[in-house]
Symmetry: C2
Subunit: 195 residues, 2 copies
DNA sequence: CATTCAAACTGAGGGTTCCTCAGGTTGTCA
DNA sequence: TGACAACCTGAGGAACCCTCAGTTTGAATG
């Protein structure tokens, strides 16, 4: 019995499930509008639920953020596999990086939470972040083996780069998004040959 | 009378001045310890002053942040002139950039405030940010004229780069500062020749 | 159905921080 | 030694956080 695979225990009762979903939807909207520090009481109210119910489903703000972004990040990990098999190593890496930047900056404050999770086990997003780390590292290693990316770049540095660019995007996305250009610049510092 | 040059009106009365300084010192300590969102009431209390007094001198949190960082940033602008006359253009630019990164990440949250100020007149730090922008742009132009930096890089992009690196430093400075390496990578994407 | 009870929900309430403002204090100038 | 502008104080309303005692309800069971 109870064979959930360690990943998530969603509510079982019908009303619980309904509320869980409503809260999640409200949270998505709120985070997108006001960043990761949107008011939780406002979210609960928008979901038509008392504040206690929100806390029942998501004991901490980080848990709620994790839930709202899980799908996107899962998708990102899946993309890594797809790209690796469909494109040449450098293309796969750069394509994945630009997707990663977009996902990391879904709303204001997310990159910060993700980078903290990356190194802090015990945070809700840690598992997902570790998975992403592996995906990125794989793509990086392939591109390095192919001789397209400098051999001395570590996965950690790759993520520093990604999160830096994502943070800039987070800030600038309102006034003309400059992240694509920024990422291209970063890539030039990383690749071994000119395009 | 009252010939202050538009830059700052410091309190005139002796007790006012004393409190102003005490608040500033407490704020520096608090920001460094807890980031830019440290409790203002705690700062006031540490300065031995009522909360109203803090608000009298610094009507907004941004104003307080600006005051605590003004010296450092003024110094940064001064450095730009010095470097420009003492070193070759590329050296001057790279040297200045690494100093800028350090200043931008004096405490958690600062880069965000500065980038917002950069484009939002009406914020307390805007004047200082604009001055920095000019300094950086001058150094950049010189390096570009010398053929050391790609000609298509705009000052705006330079600052995106700087703030991205500074943000990463802000996050990682506790567990081994990786910003020097990151900045070097960024520079390789920017310069026209290998070192 | 009726019963049962764990799961789920509610919202009052104590704590923190923000910021304002009416009223009291004090430095300074004449 | 006034006189007054500058300065200071801290109570208090508002927003948000999070907890928990008490209540409701979905669904399993007889």
């Amino acid at each position: 019995m109870d064979d959930r695979p360690y990943i998530a225990q969603r509510p079982r009762r019908a009303d619980g499930q309904r509320n869980y979903d409503a809260i999640l939807a409200a949270a998505r909207k709120a985070f997108e509008a006001s960043g990761s520090d949107a008011s939780l009481e406002e979210i609960a109210s928008q979901a038509g639920v008392a504040i206690g119910t929100l806390y029942r489903h998501f004991p901490t703000r980080a848990a709620l953020v994790e839930a709202t972004t899980r799908d996107g990040l899962e998708n990102l990990v899946a993309q890594a596999g797809r790209l690796a098999s469909e494109r040449d190593p450098l293309d796969a890496l750069t394509g994945w990086m630009s997707e990663a930047v977009v996902h990391f900056s879904t709303f204001r404050g997310l990159v910060g939470i993700l980078t903290r999770s990356m190194y802090d086990e015990g945070t809700p997003s840690h598992a997902m972040c570790a998975a992403m780390h592996r995906s990125g590292a794989d793509l990086l290693r392939a591109a390095q083996t192919a001789g397209d990316v400098r051999a001395d770049l570590t996965p950690g540095e790759l993520f520093d780069l990604l999160s830096g660019v994502a943070w800039v995007r987070e800030q600038t996305v309102s006034r003309g998004d400059a992240s694509a250009r920024l990422l291209r610049l970063a890539l030039e510092g990383i690749t071994t040959r000119e395009s």
